[in-house]
Symmetry: C2
Subunit: 542 residues, 2 copies
């Protein structure tokens, strides 16, 4: 039951300063966060780390504590890339119960209003932040991220994204008057007067489909955008990364219940890996919003088939970098090496294809041939990953079998500049850790790479749409000779895009790199998700 | 060529006050317009009316002056419901030329920026306003609206809607910073600093598909929303109502050229009536936005098939009114009579079905049986339309053959409370003017009416979705007896909607009635278009 301090209105009041600051930040586009990204005891206190670890360990080999309506058997589907046994058993609630519970939760959640909903969302985020160490372990042992990265990308940065979504949705609703005495002057006599009331109406039940590599980071924008705009959410995690979202759902349900609201406003839909539950749920007429992160194939399928819903997809990215010149050769190499290595290249911002003109590049250390750039980069990667503790901290572990397979076969693509090898994790003996591969390929192979998957990150035939690559192609063409192409990064690639604009195509601007990690990776050309919009706007009907 | 005072920047400066006021009005939801709705010489000057009439007459039997690229033959497809000969001959530009011209216009229009584009849009609207008399004749003789209504709904109120779209689109782009020095504090050392630039990117060529009854009123929101957000527009008018949009396109091209921009940012796509050109254009990959007003069937088709585009449809509305009680019986009857008669019921807000409980209704003039309400309403309509000059001023003329046919067969549906008849227009001898029909039907027929078209306004099986009707059904059901149902309005129908909310369905709130006309029609339950959103937001990619 709600006490005086846990009602939606009270929570809104408690978090007013944070909410106002977040709304100001989205308009000003400046940095803002109430969630410190450092896992230091000086920031989170001496007890936070052991408490978080204990909480995580408490889940292992046990029934996950989640009380949901409907028939429930228990399933355990996760496997740690670090080799420890997880066996967390989650309830599996049947679809009809989930949909009915979400439907029944809608009116009270709607009636909480934008301020009440924002207050509840910010309280959920506050508790998530408080439990960032617990979350870091959960994200580490499902995604394979290293601990510090999991703390940041899975914890505080994901919280940032949730807060950003709350700010956009709240601002979208409240920046237009809710009531007005509308007066229209008449040429003769009194004005026409109407008292008008406006209410932003949610769309209905939202389905959130999580992914394995960034289970919370990619989920929170959709989750919190749906919530703040009045839509109950069914959270369907990837079967390999349930725990981070199960903890999230449990916290959300706890806050909702304490606020006197229906906890079924947020529900967990687990699945057996072979079940394809996301597809079943996404086609249900009750589902009016779908948020998805994952493969291009399933994302395309959702867009084509979940026609009753507003569908947002974040699909596979293909990142290319063109090395043209640099006045900081060593820094560039170090930065590229870090970008190639971080989380074993499983980030959506990892560059896959690096282009170097056959003529070579000018640097502050003199002219470098493509071969020199390639071997210098290989050396920078080796230097970065020399120490196993550092290496495992950067690389994390690999959850996906396909990626291991691709790494093993990378050399078939061309001349190896750097061969991948296993690294023994100092803490987890069975962790699957691999260093990256760098392969030199000529023009012809570069073209072939557009057709198929190469290694961490999916290489598809989207290449031709990328302004950066288009520019590289054009340069070759105009010079009338082939360019030697290698896999090396460029400091400021992809500022172009004029061709896409001219064609009336979608702009695909360079996105600020994802900042999980110890240093800032450099930018690259990135494919933005097809349906990326400001959270909030389309979660409402006007 | 642009002179100093006609550059996009200069136009933005000239219209800054209007733009700021319009942006304030969308946020405050209060009334605002710079376009006076009265066609009085005291407002527009003595010369405005004769100048406008002369301009309209100058188009008749002549080639419409429009210079577009590509092969052009001339076609004349319009017929005045007032019986005068139009024979305005428009260029018919081939599809490839239209699409190529729009594509080539994109970069300069994009580069004009939000301020420059808003300035150009507001100058187009200013000139449209200046030529409201000319536009009134054009709208009158294509849609069938009476002159004053055509002046308002086709002229000044359409301009209001264009301005509103400019305000929403401009505000959506400019309320987030375009550049920022982003600084992220670090625990040790200097903050991370990034200089960021953001640019809202248009989607690409927009297709605007106009309708016959409100050729400008329904077109300007889409037209101006696309323009201000940086998208060139191909305007495809209804073949029966080309002139209002041809004038609009000509004015837009004139302003663009004077501003030194590519006039092909706005293009006219005329068609032979049998050509189905809208469908062809809507499926072209170059077309990224479609705005449509018209039949439910074609709207549904566009939504299902024009998958490459962001599709907005405004489809047929079905309006029902429940008469429960009133403390102003005479006023209610007069207002209902006006609503039924205005523009011969061809407005999207016209009520088609009026429900009166079998027990009758309580009024300030005593209890009234359903039969009394019906005959009193018939009398109010007859009174309103007694004088032919008044009658034709309210009714306008009927453009659509189907509506004449339905009127002639209305009596087959039940007991006639009011029979339609022809009215001789004092000015246009061959005008097709008819008074409305009122038919009393029982419960059974009322149910049947949901299945088929009745008269002005399309009655389809959407009824069950309407909160107002759902409430009426529920009331009957709970009382365990049938209600007598008639076609009478209710002062405040449709405030419900809780069932739709509970189901997680789309809310279908009562919309403020369309205010074209001399008086304010009362509200009714109205089906909102499926894809009605704030202009601007979805015309951009983020």
């Amino acid at each position: 039951m709600a006490t005086a301090s846990t009602t939606p209105a009270a929570l809104a009041e408690q978090h007013r300063t944070t909410l106002d600051a977040a709304v100001a930040a989205i308009h000003g586009r400046h940095f803002y966060t109430p969630y410190p990204e450092s896992p230091s005891p000086k920031v989170y206190g001496q007890e936070a780390a052991p408490t978080g670890q204990a909480a995580f360990e408490g889940y292992l080999g046990a029934d996950f504590p989640l009380d949901q309506p409907g028939t429930s058997d228990r399933i355990a589907t996760e496997r740690s890339p670090y080799g420890i046994k997880l066996d967390v058993r989650y309830p599996r609630t049947d679809t009809e119960s989930l949909l009915a519970a979400a439907r029944d939760a809608l009116p009270s959640w709607r009636d909480a209003g934008p301020d009440g909903r924002a207050g509840v969302c910010l309280e959920i985020l506050r508790r998530l932040n408080e439990r960032s160490f617990e979350m870091a372990h959960a994200v580490q042992h499902t995604s394979g991220q290293a601990f510090v990265m999991a703390f940041q990308a899975g914890g505080t940065h994901a919280q940032d994204r949730g807060l950003e979504a709350v700010a956009y949705g709240y601002d979208m609703i409240t920046s237009y008057a809710g009531t007005v005495r509308w007066e229209k002057p008449q040429r003769k006599g009194d004005p026409l007067v109407m008292d008008k009331r406006f209410r932003a109406v949610g769309r209905g039940t939202a389905l959130l489909i999580g992914c394995n590599t960034f289970p919370t980071w990619n989920a929170y924008p959709g989750l919190f955008a749906s919530l703040v705009t009045g839509n109950p959410v069914i959270v369907k995690p990837h079967p390999g990364a349930v725990l981070p979202l199960a903890i999230t759902v449990a916290i959300a349900r706890e806050v909702l219940a304490e606020a006197g609201l229906d906890p079924n406003t947020v529900l967990l839909a687990t699945e057996h890996p072979e079940e394809k539950r996301a597809a079943d749920l996404a086609l249900r007429p009750e589902v009016r919003i779908v948020d998805f992160t994952g493969s291009t194939a399933f994302g395309d399928w959702l867009e084509a088939n979940a026609r009753q819903a507003f569908v947002n997809t974040e699909k596979a990215g293909v990142n290319a970098v063109v090395v043209d010149s640099t006045d900081a050769y060593r820094g560039m190499l170090d930065n590229l090496a870090f970008s190639l290595s971080l989380f074993s290249g499983q980030m959506c911002t990892t560059p896959q294809n690096i282009f170097v003109p056959r003529r070579g590049v000018d640097t502050d250390e003199g002219h470098k041939t493509p071969g020199e750039v390639s071997s210098d980069l290989a050396e920078a990667v080796s230097r970065l990953l020399e120490d196993p503790a550092t290496a495992t901290g950067v690389l994390g572990a690999i959850a996906n079998e396909d990626i291991l397979h691709r790494l093993e076969h990378a050399e078939k693509l061309g001349e190896a500049a750097l061969r991948p090898h296993s690294v023994t994790h100092p803490e987890f003996a069975d962790a699957r850790v691999r260093t990256p591969a760098i392969v030199n390929v000529g023009r012809r192979t570069a073209r072939d790479l557009r057709q198929g998957a190469l290694r961490p990150g999916v290489v598809r035939d989207h290449h031709r749409r990328h302004p950066g690559l288009a520019a590289a192609d054009a340069r070759d063409h105009h010079r009338g000779r082939g360019a030697h192409r290698e896999r090396v990064l460029h400091h400021r690639a992809g500022t172009g895009g004029s061709r896409a604009d001219r064609d009336g195509g979608r702009g695909e601007p360079v996105r600020e790199p994802h900042r999980a990690g110890v240093r800032e990776p450099v930018g690259g050309v990135q494919r933005l998700p097809r349906h990326r919009r400001q959270p909030g706007g389309n979660r409402l009907t006007h």
